[in-house]
Subunit: 503 residues, 2 copies
């Protein structure tokens, strides 16, 4: 049914096929007109009422077609304004389209149920199936106790913006031109100094590689390792999946109260990924004797990969120095801003032994050329001005208080539950007693009450201990006590004890 | 020789071993003191003269040790200031350390001599070999005709900063929290609209994946392709190397004056990576009949990967629409900001057929979780406000003038040389006549005169045609005519003709 359409300043010939229904026909026709330029960007469309009258369609049909094209990005709409062509408004879309399939890579978050692949994200709309419904935007959790996430409401926005302005005012060739695959020298130099003084890391700027996060660092490393890789058991299950996908055999490295049992490392194992400062998730530092054993194994030919994921956050005593400083030619050191500033920055670093730097650099070059430059230069300035230190010091004080509150509130909420290793980090592991509630029942109860946290059992390579992984950093300062209280009540109720009131 | 050292407010016990020489002993000792915190960040060191006198060393020894530690990031120094501990000054370092091994991934730049791996970057200083000398910082080329790089001196700094301020003022959970592996919905929605209206790309935000550049997009894609991959011959040799490293067999796809000879694609070939809008490097658009043949091959089961690397830059006629729009379920579409804004941003995108989006998303998740968020949100705003369009329009005008100047100046500089396909893009391919100068001699002459450009022959899979790949965008507006003039004179001289003077 060809139609000449003239209204609201738009004069357009729309060929509307009704073979697949009127709504779909109208959508196809508008999409086509936008794509081939007959409908120019910024063009205001007629109201649904006017167009429906003109085309002899139900107003709801026109309205549904507009909605679909808004969701697809062809049209934009704002409250109180006409619908326009292709002036894509992010804000407008954010409310119409689900912002994300659940992000699955949370540092402390089991990304995938063990042994299964991550579920593909939902694809609500496609060109060939425009009729699918668009689910409502998922809301943020009421009580955010997600592990491994810092309090982003405390992000040093002003310092970041100031440094951005300064960086952008420097020579454009430096800021916008290509970059060494290892990253900008300014950041590598700043980090070399920073890591030397705060973590005892012994390296040089030329042996550092800036990556887009810990996950990429793992992937780069896997390309230069030939043989089985030992990973702590329990340990981070998403990272295990990342390594598994690189094709390497994974050897479980058991953990006890002295840390990883590094005496079990065989000489056939090529590399061992460990968390010596603060075992993930058990929290213990690697015992000095074990450090010695690990160093001997490394000098004998093994490669140690030190994941110093939250070396900045210790509360009870002086930080344990990086293991890397004791054997820099045998250790790859990993650090990240995901725990200190924000996971969205995707800025991490590796200090690499000289024997491997060439191959790691080549792997980075062929993986994604180099890491984005502006963020690197801004971070270098924050380190240089000590804004980075100040931010971490302030965060450390806040997180220490939160940890104390957590111990006080959860310590007695469930008889028999234990909280190993909370001397450091941004999270606590709560292990359930044998006669306590089941992990799955607790998770269900938490979900019903809007409490976001993670199960503990997927952290083990085999059958895991049941429990909860509780992040005490993610919530804002105001929200945290309420989140903790909600969890304590849930624990007490499922543990069969009356909930105590908040202190 | 233990020494008590007190001077300039620093009171320090330095154990200086002379086993490896005095300079190295002093370096080790200072490094140790900085690492274990005895020398605090910000501490001013004594002058080289004072310390030399105190320790009984030659002043040059102290000076050399300071220099080494500055290079390693332990010390910092500024003209007219004292040397300080670990207040790492990016600027100070930039002048002391080579900023980069030559970056090898230039879009138009042969990254590696064909068949050889990229050379590992030089590692000038390591903990175990602190005596290595530090080469001087390489200077920028006098005449920058590097292909595949936009004029970054025209980067829209003010618009970028303004958008950054706006983005940072929004809710922190959105800006700093985790993100869908595919990227932020705001950018995917903005790009969906932008690509639909400017390039005729038919997709939805849910089928888009934001990557850290074209190289990463290639790697992600390789994980979901099972079988040989056809790549244009000639084509981009660095991307060939990226694909080769993924383990896929590479099938040459020959190019003639109608574009890629897609009729040669076998059904056993799993995918074909093509540049239909503007063949790289020959410049021809894919002939309409060839587009039809390619579409049939794709519908028959092949996957087409459309590299729309500079679809924005056409000068002679209306842009050729994206091939993707003709078969969106069989084409992966790649675009990037590297040619439009700056290669340092590392922001690119893929529009993926529905059948592949789940696997590509999983590959991205396990490659590096997701792309950095701040840059995504800033770019989304620039698209939304049309600052992005304005920037591209202005650049297109400038580059068109530069191209005209190039044709006028080089067209007659070397008899028999040809300049195929300069109707679009940021670069020109100059093919040398059989009886003309050799590519290698021209490159040598250019290098001696400070002219940065690239040889053409590595672009072919087998034996290549000799020539030059000349970027007319990289230089600033002021510098470009001089660079072109220097090249024209070089060509004329080696071609045996007297250099004409500039018009």
């Amino acid at each position: 049914m060809p139609k000449d359409w003239a209204g609201s300043g738009v004069d357009l010939h729309l060929e509307i096929s009704t073979a697949d229904g009127r709504r779909r026909g109208l959508e196809d026709s508008l999409r086509e007109a936008i794509r081939d330029g007959r409908l120019q960007p910024g063009t205001r469309l007629p109201s649904t009422r006017a167009l429906a009258a003109e085309l002899g369609l139900a107003r709801g049909t026109v309205s549904a077609a507009y909605d679909q094209l808004v969701a697809e990005g062809y049209l934009t709409t704002r409250p109180g304004s006409a619908t326009e062509v292709a002036d894509v408004s992010p804000r407008g879309h954010a409310s119409a389209i689900p912002p994300a399939a659940a992000t699955l890579h949370d540092r402390s978050a089991p990304a995938t149920p063990r042994g299964r692949a991550a579920p593909a994200p939902t694809i609500p709309g496609t060109p060939s199936a425009p009729e699918v419904s668009i689910p409502p935007m998922p809301s943020a959790p009421l009580h955010d106790l997600s592990p491994g996430q810092p309090d982003v409401s405390a992000f040093p926005t002003r310092a970041w913006l100031r440094a951005t302005r300064q960086v952008l005012s420097t020579a454009p060739a430096g800021v916008f031109g290509r970059c060494d695959p290892r990253g900008r020298i300014e950041l590598r130099a700043a980090l070399t100094g920073y890591l030397a003084r705060t973590r005892g890391v012994l390296t040089t700027p030329d042996l550092m590689v800036i990556t887009t996060g810990f996950v990429q660092a793992l992937n780069l490393l896997a390309t230069v390792i030939d043989g089985p890789i030992a990973m702590e058991d329990p340990g981070h299950d998403f990272y295990r999946e990342v390594v598994r996908r690189t094709g390497h055999e994974i050897v479980p490295l058991p953990v006890d109260e002295l840390g990883a049992q590094v005496g079990t490392l065989a000489s056939a194992t090529a590399a061992a990924i460990v968390t010596p400062a603060h075992q993930y998730p058990m929290g213990v530092p690697l015992h000095p004797h074990r450090r010695h054993v690990l160093r001997e194994w490394a000098i004998g030919g093994g490669l140690v990969v030190e994941d110093d994921y939250d070396g900045e956050f210790r509360y009870d005593r002086q930080p344990v120095g990086a293991f890397q400083g004791t054997a820099p030619e045998h250790v790859v050191y990993f650090g990240t801003t995901s725990q200190t500033l924000a996971p969205s920055l995707r800025l991490a670093w590796m200090a690499v032994p000289q024997a491997l730097i060439g191959r790691v650099t080549e792997a980075k070059l062929h993986a994604d050329a180099h890491t984005e430059v502006l963020g690197q230069l801004v971070l270098a300035r924050l380190i240089e001005t000590h804004d980075y230190d100040r931010h971490i010091r302030a965060a450390r004080l806040r997180y220490r208080r939160r940890r104390e509150l957590l111990i006080a509130r959860l310590g007695a909420a469930l008889p028999g539950a234990t909280l190993p290793g909370v001397a450091a980090g941004l999270r606590a592991l709560l292990l359930l007693p044998d006669d306590g509630p089941a992990e799955i029942d607790l998770l269900d109860a938490c979900e019903r009450r809007g409490i976001a946290l993670r199960p503990a059992s997927p952290l083990w390579h085999g059958t895991g201990q049941e429990g909860l992984l509780i992040g005490y950093a993610a919530a804002s300062e105001r929200a945290y006590p309420h989140a903790l209280e909600a969890l304590a009540k849930t624990l007490a109720e499922l543990g069969g004890r009356p909930a105590r009131s908040s202190p």
